[in-house]
C-alpha cells in the first residue's frame, strides 16, 4: 500500500515522547509515525506530499458536544450579533442594532417569490442591543403578509410578526401566560418565551417542529463546517434516532467524500428506561467507522439563562423559581444502573449544580451495585459545579465536558442576573477540573454557539465575557491544556482516545491543518488561528474547495 509522508512547518502531536515534529507518514488512513523524514523513510517507499509544508498540523479536533442541526439552521437567515461562518465559507457579519436585523430580513424577504412563504431567521440576541426587544410591529415593517419568526441565540425565545400570531390564533386580547408578554394594547408583543409557547407559532414561521432533527442536506453542511473549523470527529448530542434517520446518517457518512466522523447519542425522552437500553444496544450494532452509535444522552434539567436549570440554595440571583427536572431520580437511577451493568456509555446534561448533585448521588449508588472501572460517564455542561462536586467526580471516575463558550456569550448575564457575581466566577471551572484530575473536554453546543474548538479553547484560556471583562481569573487554563481538551480530552470522553486525538503510530490519520501555530501565537489571539482544512482518515479536505 502507498505510504504518504506529509511535511509541515510544525506538527503538534500531543504525544509527549515527541511533542513537535516535521513529518508524518500515513498508510491506509492510519498514522505510521511522526518524526523526521529520515526516520519515516524506514517504513519503505513513500510519496512525499508537500501541500502542508508551510502549515501547522495538529490532531484533528474533536467536538464533544454539538448538534448536527447547526448544518440545517443555515437554511434560515442569520441575524446574530457576532460574525459567523456558514457551511459554504461565507462569513455573515454580525448585526449590531435592531435596524440592521430588519434590513437583513428585508434582503431575505426580497428573495422569496411565494408571497405566503414564511421567513425564519435565527441567532438574535437582544442582550447586545441594551436589551431593547424586537416587537411584532418591528417585524411587520419587513412584511405584514407573510409570517416571520426570529429565533434567539439561546433557542429559548422566538420573536414573531403580527401575521404569525394571527395564523396561530394568538393575535387577541385576554392571553394570560408568563411566556407571552402583552403590549399596552393588550395584544401579544410578538415575543414568545419557552418551547411550549414557541411550538404553536413556530410551525407557522417555518421552524420544523423537531428542532433537534437534522436532514441529509444539514448533515452534509454540518461536515463542511467541521472541515472549516478543523474538526474531524463531532458528536450529534441527542437525537431520537429512529430507523429512517439512522439509515440516512449511515448512507451520508458512508460516502467516500464525507469528511467527518459523527457520534450521535440517543436522547432519553419518550421511551422507558428498559426500551431505551434495548434501542441503544441495537444501535450499537449499526455503527460504522464514520458513524459511532450506542451511547445515551440523558437530559436532567433545563438551562441557566432560561431559568429552567435546577440550582441549589440560594437559587437564582434575581429570585426566579427553581427550574425544571426533565427526568425523575428513579428513572435516572434505573438508566444509570442498567447502563453500568451492560457497559453502555452515558452522557448527562446538567446545567445547574442541583442537577449535577443528583447525577453524582445516583452514580455513587449505582457504582456500589455495579462496580465499573472505566465507565467514563460524562457530565455535559456542568456549568455551576463547585469544587466539592469536582472532587466527587474524580472519586467516581466521571468525566466532564464544560461549556467554555457560554462564558463568553452569556457570562455578563450570569453575573448580573441569573446566578450573581460569585457563582458566575466559578462557572465552567476548567482549572478546578484539571486540578482535581477530572478528565475534561470543552464544547460549543453548536448551534447554540458556533462550532469552532479553537475559539472554545480561546474562551477557556481567556475567560473574557462579551463586554470584555475577565470573569474568573482563577479558572483560566493554559493554551497547552486547552489544546489537549479539544483533542485527546474530548476523545477520552467518547472512549475514542485510543483511535484519535493525537498523532502517533497506529492512530487514525485525522489532522487539523492550520495556517498559524496555536502554541506560539499569543494566547489572547488563539481564536484568530486560521484553519486551512482537515485530513480525515488520510483523505485531504481543503476548506477552500468545499
Amino acid at each position: 500500500m502507498t505510504i504518504t509522508i506529509f511535511s509541515a512547518r510544525k506538527i503538534i502531536t500531543m504525544n509527549p515522547a515527541r511533542s513537535n515534529t516535521t513529518h508524518v507518514a500515513i498508510r491506509d488512513g492510519h498514522v505510521l509515525g511522526s518524526g523526521s523524514l529520515e526516520e519515516l523513510a524506514g517504513w519503505g517507499d513513500y510519496v512525499l506530499d508537500e501541500t502542508f509544508k508551510d502549515k501547522v498540523i495538529m490532531p484533528g479536533l474533536v467536538e464533544g458536544h454539538s448538534h448536527a442541526m447547526e448544518g440545517t439552521l443555515w437554511k434560515y437567515t442569520y441575524v446574530g450579533f457576532f460574525d459567523r461562518m456558514d457551511p459554504h465559507g461565507k462569513v455573515w457579519s454580525g448585526v449590531k442594532a435592531i435596524g440592521e436585523v430588519l434590513a437583513r430580513l428585508k434582503e431575505s424577504e426580497a428573495k422569496l417569490s411565494d408571497p405566503d412563504a414564511p421567513l425564519p431567521a435565527w441567532s438574535l440576541d437582544p442582550i447586545y442591543f441594551d436589551n431593547e426587544r424586537v416587537t411584532r410591529q418591528d417585524l411587520d415593517k419587513v412584511s405584514e403578509t407573510r409570517p416571520i419568526g426570529v429565533m434567539h441565540a439561546s433557542g429559548h425565545i422566538l420573536n414573531v410578526n403580527s401575521k404569525a400570531l394571527e395564523l396561530a390564533g394568538l393575535l387577541k386580547t385576554g392571553i394570560d401566560h408568563p411566556g407571552v408578554p402583552l403590549g399596552e394594547d393588550g395584544l401579544p408583543t410578538g415575543e414568545l418565551k419557552g418551547p411550549d409557547v414557541m411550538t404553536p407559532v413556530g410551525v407557522h414561521v417555518g421552524f420544523d417542529r423537531d428542532m433537534l432533527s437534522c436532514d441529509e442536506e444539514g448533515l452534509i453542511d454540518f461536515a463542511k463546517l467541521c472541515v472549516r473549523t478543523g474538526v474531524t470527529t463531532a458528536t450529534d448530542l441527542a437525537a431520537r434516532l429512529p430507523d429512517d434517520a439512522v439509515a440516512m446518517m449511515s448512507d451520508v457518512t458512508g460516502r467516500d467524500n464525507y469528511p467527518a466522523r459523527i457520534v450521535p447519542l440517543r436522547f432519553h425522552h419518550g421511551v422507558t428506561p428498559v426500551d431505551l437500553i434495548e434501542h441503544v444496544l441495537k444501535l450499537k450494532e449499526l455503527s460504522s467507522d464514520r458513524l459511532r452509535l450506542g451511547m445515551i444522552k440523558v437530559v436532567v434539567d433545563g438551562s441557566i439563562q432560561g431559568f429552567s436549570a435546577r440550582i441549589r440554595w440560594p437559587g437564582y440571583y434575581n429570585g426566579a423559581d427553581n427550574g425544571l427536572w426533565y427526568i425523575s431520580p428513579e428513572q435516572l437511577r434505573e438508566i444509570i444502573n442498567m447502563s453500568l451493568e451492560k457497559g453502555i456509555h452515558i452522557h448527562t446534561h446538567t446545567n445547574g449544580d442541583e442537577a449535577t448533585e443528583l447525577v453524582l448521588d445516583c452514580m455513587e449508588e449505582g457504582l456500589r451495585q455495579y462496580p465499573s472501572l472505566d465507565h467514563r460517564f460524562t457530565l455535559q455542561h456542568c456549568q455551576l459545579a463547585d469544587r466539592a462536586q469536582f472532587r466527587r467526580m474524580a472519586k467516581l471516575g466521571m468525566c466532564v465536558n464544560l461549556f467554555a463558550n457560554h462564558h463568553f456569550y452569556w457570562g455578563d448575564e450570569h453575573y448580573n442576573l441569573t446566578v450573581g457575581p460569585e457563582r458566575a466566577l466559578r462557572m465552567n471551572a476548567c482549572a478546578t477540573a484539571l486540578e482535581n484530575a477530572v478528565p475534561m473536554a470543552i464544547h460549543s453546543d453548536a448551534p447554540i454557539t458556533p462550532l469552532g474548538p479553537l475559539f472554545t479553547a480561546w474562551c477557556a484560556v481567556n475567560r473574557l465575557t462579551a463586554s470584555g471583562r475577565t470573569q474568573g481569573e482563577s479558572e483560566k487554563i493554559s493554551v497547552a491544556d486547552a489544546l489537549y481538551a479539544i483533542t485527546l480530552g474530548a476523545a477520552y470522553t467518547l472512549k475514542l482516545d485510543g483511535e484519535i486525538g493525537s498523532i502517533e503510530t497506529g492512530k487514525r490519520a485525522d489532522f487539523a491543518i492550520l495556517e498559524d501555530d496555536p502554541e506560539s501565537i499569543a494566547p489572547e489571539k488563539l481564536r484568530d488561528v486560521k484553519v486551512w482544512g482537515t485530513v480525515q482518515d488520510g483523505r485531504i479536505f481543503s476548506a477552500a474547495d468545499l
Binding site: L170, D196, T199, P200, F267
Partner: protein, 288 residues
C-alpha cells in the same frame, strides 16, 4: 351548535407510582363510547390490554371504541396539536404528565391552543408516600408545586395506610393544596364523570366500576330558572358548596343570553353556550 367546540383537555399529574397509569386504564375501560385521546410521556408504562388494540403505528395506538393513545416524548405541545386535528375529532383529551412535570405550566401552554380548553387538573397522590416524598432532597418543591396546581387531588391507595395516618395525610394535603377538592381512592377508581367533565353523564348515577366509592359522591341538579350574573353565581356556588368537585350547566345572564358555566375544584370558566340547551346546573360534591 353554531361553532366548533373546543376539545376539553384533562391533565393527569402526580409523582411516579401515584397511580396515573391505573387511572388512565380505568378511564379507557369506562369510556363507554366516548372517544378519548390519551397522551402519555412514553408507551412502556401503559399496559393496555392487547385485545383493546386495533392498530399500532409509530407514536399512535388505536384502541377499539374510537379511543387513541399517543406518546409525546419531549414535545407535548406538538402532540396535543396533532391529536386535536385527528379525524374523527376526539371527544376529550387526557394528558398524562410525566412524574416530574408541573401540570400548571402545561395548563398555561394549553391555553394558547385554539381548539383546546382546559377541563381540569387532576393530581394523584400516593397516600402511603406523598408526605415523606414532599420532603425529598430533590423532589420536594416539584411535588408541592404539583399539589398546588391541582383542581382535584385523588388521594390514592388509601387501603394501604392506617386510618389515623390517612387522616393526618389528608389534613396535611388540605393545608398545601388549598384550591383542590380531595377525593380518597383505592386503585385509582374515581368515577369518569369526576375525572372528566361530562355533562350528559352527570345526571346519571356515577359509575366507577368500584361501587364502594360511589357513596362518597352526591350529585344534584339546580334548575336555574332565574337569570344570574354567571361569574358571581359561580363564585357563590363554589364558596357555599362544601366538597364541590365539579359542576357544569347553562345559565341565563342578566341580558338574557345563555352561558355555559363549568366548575372544577375552585376553578370556574364561563363561555358562550351552544344553541338549543336548557338552563340548569349539575353539581357533584364529595363528602368531606
Amino acid at each position: 351548535m353554531t361553532q366548533a367546540q373546543n376539545i376539553p383537555v384533562t391533565i393527569v399529574g402526580g409523582y411516579l407510582g401515584s397511580g396515573k397509569t391505573t387511572l388512565i386504564n380505568n378511564l379507557l375501560r369506562h369510556a363507554d363510547g366516548k372517544k378519548l385521546a390519551i397522551l402519555v410521556n412514553e408507551f412502556g408504562e401503559l399496559p393496555i390490554d392487547a385485545d383493546l388494540i386495533e392498530a399500532e403505528e409509530g407514536d399512535v395506538i388505536s384502541l377499539s371504541g374510537g379511543c387513541v393513545c399517543c406518546s409525546y416524548g419531549n414535545d407535548l405541545t406538538s402532540a396535543v396539536m396533532d391529536v386535536a386535528q385527528m379525524q374523527p375529532t376526539p371527544d376529550h383529551i387526557v394528558l398524562e404528565a410525566s412524574g416530574v412535570a408541573l401540570p400548571g405550566a402545561i395548563a398555561s401552554s394549553l391555553s394558547l391552543l385554539n381548539n383546546c380548553s382546559l377541563d381540569g387538573i387532576v393530581v394523584l397522590a400516593d397516600a402511603e408516600t406523598v408526605k415523606s416524598k414532599s420532603t425529598d432532597k430533590y423532589m420536594s418543591d416539584t411535588i408541592m408545586r404539583q399539589l398546588t396546581d391541582a383542581d382535584i387531588v385523588l388521594l390514592n391507595k388509601i387501603d394501604l395506610v392506617a386510618s389515623e395516618d390517612l387522616h393526618a395525610t389528608r389534613e396535611w394535603l388540605n393545608g398545601c393544596s388549598n384550591n383542590a377538592s380531595i377525593i380518597e381512592t383505592k386503585h385509582s377508581t374515581a368515577p369518569i364523570a369526576v375525572v372528566l367533565q361530562d355533562f350528559e353523564r352527570q345526571s346519571q348515577p356515577l359509575d366507577s366500576g368500584a361501587p364502594q366509592h360511589v357513596d362518597q359522591f352526591h350529585t344534584y341538579k339546580l334548575d336555574m330558572e332565574k337569570s344570574v350574573d354567571p361569574k358571581h353565581f359561580a363564585e357563590e356556588l363554589i364558596a357555599n358548596t362544601p366538597g364541590i368537585v365539579r359542576a357544569k350547566g347553562f345559565v341565563r345572564d342578566k341580558s338574557g343570553d345563555l352561558k355555559t358555566v363549568q366548575i372544577v375544584g375552585k376553578r370556574f370558566a364561563i363561555s358562550e353556550s351552544p344553541d338549543n340547551v336548557e338552563c340548569g346546573m349539575v353539581v357533584i360534591t364529595v363528602q368531606p
